[in-house]
Each structure stands twice: as structure tokens, then as C-alpha cells.
Symmetry: C2
Subunit: 121 residues, 2 copies
DNA sequence: TCAACATTTCTTGAAATATTGAAATATAGC
DNA sequence: GCTATATTTCAATATTTCAAGAAATGTTGA
């Protein structure tokens, strides 16, 4: 079984990246954008559609999308007059890796029993 | 193989919890506290030791520890005159679950190829 | 180039969060 | 009870982040 966080080819986020990404995800609108884009998958979604679905103003949404893009969590491409946003799955994966690796890997001798028995290996 | 994010007994964090926890982790000192406590494992570490190791003032550290505890990411217990802090591994696990589940589970028909081929299953 | 549409940038003010240092609280040992 | 140690709380200040709307920019298709 190949899992999201155990793929050795998938680098864990650095502390700086992790900080930037956690910060980006710690805002309600931005977290919802990410969840919306995850559901939209590789097709992505135009900025205007996202704004409509979340009931946010265009300018506010643009700000949040820039924020997410700067954090490397979403990617944009132009299609006609629309700009299509989509989530960067490897970035989410690396962030998970950052948490999980610290939780369960490399510190096996120290890890608590709850984690060891319920969640690891 | 039993993995951190695929254990059905391990509930995914709610959006509110996720927001609170992402927010807690998006601050340099707090992220370092969590990493330090992960390394300390179940034994945990006294507040004073954490402050010394991170070069932070006692009062500042106390504030950040309260913040992390309120977010459910760390737990405290008294031992003599020290208060020992330790990380709540299931909380980290649930947060990872929150990201990973949204990334790869429940939306298989939409998930992008990069995620599907590199990270899922 | 022009008109229409989509997105971004900028400004302002409000709200949340961080830092510092001093004072307060709690425990252990004498 | 008294003192030393460990940690937390509090008040004042500084910093960061957020929201809203107007104006500016960029793109398409005629």
C-alpha cells in the first residue's frame, strides 16, 4: 500500500514552508477555498465561481487566492478570460508528511503509546 | 500496514478544530514547541526546559503553551513544582487526516493525477 | 481599437494576535 | 510559616491580519 505520507519521493515541507502553509490554512475563507478546490480536482475552478460559491467579494477572494498561491498550496492558469485555480496536491501531502513524520517516524523510541498502538505501522 | 491517517477509529478533525489547530501551528515558537515535544515523546518536558531550549521568556512560553493546549495539541500535568507538557499525538493525527482525507479520499473521481499516482493507494 | 468581462491592486479602518516585564499563584523543603 | 523555585496572569504597547469598496489592469472577441 502506497500512502500519502510514506512515499520517500515526497519531501517533507521545511519549517518555513510549513509555517507559511499552516498560516494560509488557518483562515476560514482560505480553508474553504482549499476544500472547494480539492473537490474540483485537477479541473480546478475559475476565481469568479469560487467567489460566488463562498459568497465572498471578488477582491477579497483574489487576496486569499494570492495568499494561497504564495504559500504554494494552489496553482493558477489562464483559460480564456478566466483564471482557473487548482490545488497543489503534493504541497498538501508534504504538509501532512511534516506533521506525521514528526509524530511517528524517527522518534520511535520516544513516541507515546497512544500514537504507537493506534496510528503507527 | 496500519497508517496514521487510514485508521477508521481515528476521527478526522472538524473544520473548526482544524482552523484552531492550523492557527496554533502557524506561529514559529509554537511550531517549535510542538516539534520539541514530539521529540520528547510521552515523557514530555517541563515548561521551563522548553523555554530554555527555545530561548523564549517564561511568560511568553506560558502563553504559547496555553494556546497549544486550548487547541488540543498539547497536554499538561503537574510533577512536583514543574508542569510537564506533552504533545497530543491523536490531535496531530486527526489534523493530518483532515488534510489527507480531503486530498485523496471521497473524491477519487476528481482527484488529480499527480496525487493519485504519487501519493494515494 | 473598443466594449465587456474577469481579476488584481490600493486605501482605510477595525479586529485579532504578539511581546515585554512586573505581579500573582502554586509547590516543595526547611 | 517562610523561602526558593516554577509557572501563570495581567496591563500596556506594537504588530499583523482582515474586510470592504473604488479604481486600475489585463484579456477576449468583434
Amino acid at each position: 500500500m502506497k500512502t500519502l505520507h510514506s512515499d520517500p519521493a515526497l519531501p517533507r515541507a521545511t519549517e518555513t514552508e510549513a509555517l507559511l502553509r499552516f498560516s494560509a490554512l488557518s483562515q476560514e475563507t482560505r480553508l474553504r477555498i482549499v476544500r472547494l478546490l480539492v473537490m474540483a480536482g485537477q479541473n480546478g475552478m475559475p476565481a469568479g465561481t469560487i467567489a460566488t460559491q463562498l459568497g465572498s467579494s471578488d477582491s477579497r477572494l483574489s487576496f486569499h487566492l494570492s495568499h494561497l498561491e504564495h504559500a504554494g498550496l494552489v496553482h493558477s492558469r489562464r483559460e480564456g478570460r478566466s483564471i482557473i485555480y487548482s490545488v497543489v496536491f503534493p504541497a498538501l501531502a508534504a504538509l501532512s508528511e511534516f506533521l506525521i513524520q514528526d509524530c511517528c517516524r524517527g522518534f520511535e523510541e520516544n513516541v507515546n503509546e497512544g500514537c504507537k498502538s493506534e496510528s503507527c505501522d
